[in-house]
C-alpha cells in the first residue's frame, strides 16, 4: 500500500479542518485566511466548508489578536494566523501580557484556549524585516506554550494538541519547511506539546535543534556517516523546554552541539548549554558547541545570505572537527542555499 505523503502546509490545514469538525468552538482569524489558498495554503478551502467560522480581518494585529484572546477567555477556541512574525509583534500585548499571564494572575481556573500560528524565519529575498525568527522572545515569557514543528507529521500532531489545550499555544512555523513532504496519517493524532523527541540514537554527541535547523541537522547526519555516532534531538518545544530528555542524552554522550537558525545572542542553544553545564549529573568530555546566525539582521542579497544560516555542511564539520575526523569540502548549490527544500523525508 502506498503511503500518504503530504506537505507541511497541508498537514496544518488538515489538523485545523479535522478539529473544526469535532469542536464548534474553533474559529480561525487572520489576514487572508478566507482566500482559496489562504495562509500559504494552511487554511485552503476552509471558508467554503465553514463560512461562519473563518474570518478574514482588517490589518489590525493588536485588535484582532486581543479580540481572539477575549473570545478565548469566554470559551471559544480561536486560531489566529500571522503571516510574518514581524506583524505578530504588533500584538505583543495580547500574547505576552494578556494571554500568557491570564490564568496565573487571576489565581488559576481561567483558561485561555487560543492557538496563535506565526510564520517565521528564512525565505529568499525577504530581507531584514520579513525573516526574523525571534524564538528567544517567545521562550522568555512564562505562561505560553511555544512549539516549532519540524516536519509535516509534527505540524499536524502539534496543531491537534494545541487545539485540545486550555493554555495559550504559540506555534512558530518556519516557512523554510512549508514544502517539505512526509507520510502523515489521515486520522487525527496528537503529538505532546512539551516533549523533545530523540529522532536518531547515538552515543558520541548530542545534537539539539528544532524547526528548520533540525532539518539541516537531519541532513548533516548523512554527511557525518559512521565517523561519529550522533544522537539527534528535536527540541519541539522552547517553552517550556524538556530538559529531562536533553540531560538524559548528554549524560550518555558527554558532548553537545546546538543548532539555531536565529541570531547568536540570547538564542535557544545558549540557554540549553547554560543549563547543561550547571547540571551536576552531567560530565562533559568536550566543550559544548553551538551554531547559529550572526548577530546582524538577515540581509536580502543572496551573496550575503549564503553564509547567514548554518548549513548541513557546517553542522557536519562542527561534529567531525570535535572528533578529529577529516572535514568535508562540499559546496552547496545555489538552490540548496536559497530555495526551501521540497523533498520527502
Amino acid at each position: 500500500m502506498s503511503e500518504r505523503i503530504i506537505k507541511y502546509t497541508e498537514a496544518l490545514k488538515e489538523a485545523t479542518e479535522q478539529m473544526m469538525e469535532v469542536d464548534s468552538s474553533i474559529v480561525v482569524l487572520g489576514l487572508g485566511v478566507s482566500y482559496k489558498n489562504g495562509a500559504d495554503g494552511t487554511t485552503a478551502g476552509l471558508k467554503v466548508k465553514y463560512p461562519e467560522r473563518i474570518f478574514d480581518v482588517p490589518v489590525s494585529e493588536a485588535g484582532v489578536t486581543s479580540m481572539a484572546v477575549g473570545a478565548a477567555i469566554n470559551g471559544l477556541h480561536p486560531v489566529v494566523h500571522h503571516g510574518r512574525v514581524e506583524f505578530a509583534l504588533l500584538a505583543a500585548d495580547a500574547m505576552f501580557t494578556q494571554a500568557a499571564k491570564w490564568n496565573y494572575m487571576f489565581g488559576g481556573s481561567n483558561p485561555v484556549p487560543i492557538v496563535i500560528r506565526i510564520n517565521v524565519g528564512r525565505q529568499w529575498g525577504n530581507g531584514p524585516q520579513h525573516t526574523q525568527a525571534l524564538y528567544s522572545l517567545f521562550g522568555n515569557v512564562p505562561g505560553l506554550k511555544v512549539v516549532i514543528p519540524s516536519s509535516p507529521y509534527m505540524a499536524k500532531g502539534l496543531l491537534v494538541s494545541a487545539l485540545k489545550e486550555q493554555s495559550p499555544v504559540i506555534i512558530l512555523e518556519p516557512r523554510w519547511l512549508f514544502n517539505l513532504k512526509q507520510h502523515v496519517p489521515l486520522e487525527v493524532f496528537s503529538v505532546e506539546l512539551h516533549r523533545a523527541h530523540v529522532i536518531n540514537s547515538g552515543k558520541d554527541i548530542t545534537v539539539i535543534s528544532y524547526g528548520d535547523g533540525l532539518q539541516a541537522a537531519r541532513e548533516a547526519l548523512e554527511l557525518v556517516g559512521d565517523h561519529v555516532s550522533v544522537e539527534l534531538i528535536d527540541l519541539v518545544s522552547i517553552n517550556p523546554i524538556d530538559y529531562q530528555t536533553i540531560i538524559t542524552s548528554v549524560i550518555k554522550t558527554g558532548a553537545v552541539l546546538t543548532v539555531d537558525t536565529t541570531n547568536e545572542s540570547f538564542n535557544v542553544g545558549s540557554e540549553i548549554i547554560g543549563k547543561i553545564v550547571q547540571e551536576a549529573s552531567v560530565t562533559l568530555t568536550r566543550k559544548p558547541m553551538s551554531l547559529s546566525c550572526p548577530n546582524v539582521p538577515c540581509p536580502t542579497s543572496t551573496s550575503l545570505t549564503e553564509s547567514y544560516y548554518p548549513t548541513r555542511v557546517d553542522i557536519a564539520n562542527s561534529i567531525l572537527k570535535a572528533f578529529d575526523k577529516p572535514l568535508l569540502d562540499t559546496n552547496l548549490t545555489f538552490e540548496e542555499l536559497h530555495m526551501a527544500p521540497a523533498k520527502t523525508i
Binding site: A62, A71, I73, N110
Partner: protein
C-alpha cells in the same frame, strides 16, 4: 423611581465609603499593593451596571474597584485581593489592578492602557458567535482612548456588528496630564467614534440618572442587534492617579478645582435629589454608618485572612 434611586445611592455610597476606608488603611499600614482609587466616578460604574443583566459582562482597567462592586462583586473578596490574601479574587496574585469574578459577570480587569478594550470586544465576539442575547462593557479612561488598539477595536466591533459597549470615563487627566497637552484643539471623540460607524453618546458622568438613562437605551438597542456603541462620561477623579491621597497641592488641576469637584460630586447630587423626595438626614447618616461598618468589616476580614502559601508562587502557570 425613588426606590431605584435610593438603591443606586446606596450602591454608589458603598463604593465611596469602601475606598475611603481602604485609603485610610493603606496610609496606616504598609500595604504593598499598587492602587488607583475611583472616588468621584461612582455614578458611571453604577449607572452603567444598573442597566445590565447579570449575564452581561463587564471588563475593567487599573481603576476598577467601582466597576467590580457595581457589577455585584463581593467586597470582602475584593479587599482580600488588595491585601494579597489567599481568599482574594485572584488568590493574591493579581491585586487591585486585577479584579475578576465570573460568577457576577465581571470577567477581568487589566492595567495596560487600552488592553481591556479589544479583550472585551472578544467577549462580545463570543456572545454574538454563540447567539447570546447579552452584551459586554469595557470601561476605559480618556488616556486609554489615545491607544491605537482602541481604534482597531472600534473598526472590528462595527465590522462584525458586535454587542460591545465602550464606556469612556473622561476624568480630564491621564495621570496628571491634561487633555489639552495630549490632544489638539480639533480633537473630537464623537467624530472619531462615529467615523468608524459606531454609535456615540455623551453623558454627565457626575449624574447617575443621566448615565443610567443613556446606558439603558444603548443596552436595549444593542440587545436588539443594533451594534456597538461608545458612551463617554465626563467625570471627576477626586484623588491622585495612584495613591491613597488627594493631590490638589500638586497644582496641576485647573478646570476641576476641589470646590468645583465637591459641588458637582455625583453622590452629593443624588443625595440632594433624594432629600427632595423625602429621605431625611438621619436616614442618610444611617446608610453611611452601615456602609462604613461593612467596609471596616471587610478590611478586618482581609487583614486576618492568611497569605497564600509559598508554593503558590509556582502554581497556575498553565491550566
Amino acid at each position: 423611581m425613588k426606590t431605584h434611586l435610593l438603591g443606586a445611592y446606596q450602591r454608589m455610597l458603598a463604593i465611596r465609603v469602601a475606598e475611603e476606608e481602604i485609603a485610610k488603611y493603606y496610609l496606616e499600614n504598609k500595604v504593598m499593593s499598587f492602587v488607583h482609587f475611583y472616588v468621584g466616578q461612582e455614578a458611571v460604574a453604577v449607572g452603567v451596571c444598573d442597566a445590565l443583566d447579570k449575564e452581561d459582562r463587564v471588563m475593567g482597567n487599573h481603576r476598577s474597584h467601582g466597576h467590580y462592586l457595581a457589577k455585584g462583586g463581593d467586597l470582602k473578596r475584593m479587599v482580600s485581593e488588595l491585601l494579597g490574601r489567599e481568599n482574594g479574587l485572584a488568590k493574591g496574585k493579581g491585586g487591585s489592578m486585577h479584579m475578576i469574578d465570573k460568577s457576577v459577570g465581571f470577567v477581568g480587569s487589566t492595567p495596560i492602557l487600552g488592553s481591556v478594550v479589544p479583550l472585551a470586544n472578544g467577549s462580545a465576539f463570543e456572545q454574538k458567535y454563540n447567539h447570546k442575547n447579552n452584551i459586554t462593557v469595557a470601561f476605559c479612561g480618556d488616556g486609554a482612548f489615545e491607544e491605537g488598539v482602541v481604534y482597531e477595536t472600534l473598526n472590528l466591533a462595527a465590522l462584525f456588528n458586535l454587542p460591545f459597549l465602550l464606556v469612556i470615563e473622561n476624568n480630564l487627566y491621564s495621570v496628571n496630564s491634561k487633555l489639552k497637552d495630549r490632544r489638539s484643539e480639533k480633537h473630537d471623540v464623537e467624530k472619531i467614534v462615529t467615523g468608524f460607524g459606531v454609535k456615540y453618546v455623551k453623558a454627565d458622568g457626575n449624574d447617575y440618572e443621566d448615565v443610567y438613562t443613556k446606558a439603558s437605551t444603548i443596552v436595549a438597542d444593542m440587545k436588539s442587534g443594533k451594534g456597538p456603541a461608545v458612551l463617554e462620561c465626563i467625570t471627576y477623579r477626586h484623588m491622585a492617579h495612584s495613591a491613597p491621597l488627594f493631590d490638589d497641592a500638586q497644582g496641576y488641576r485647573e478646570e476641576d478645582v476641589l470646590e468645583k469637584r465637591l459641588e458637582q460630586d455625583s453622590l452629593k447630587k443624588l443625595k440632594n435629589k433624594l432629600s427632595k423626595e423625602g429621605i431625611n438626614e438621619v436616614e442618610f447618616v444611617e446608610m453611611e454608618k452601615e456602609a462604613r461598618a461593612r467596609a471596616i468589616e471587610a478590611i478586618h476580614h482581609a487583614a486576618i485572612s492568611p497569605y497564600p502559601p509559598k508554593e503558590d508562587l509556582y502554581k497556575n502557570l498553565y491550566v
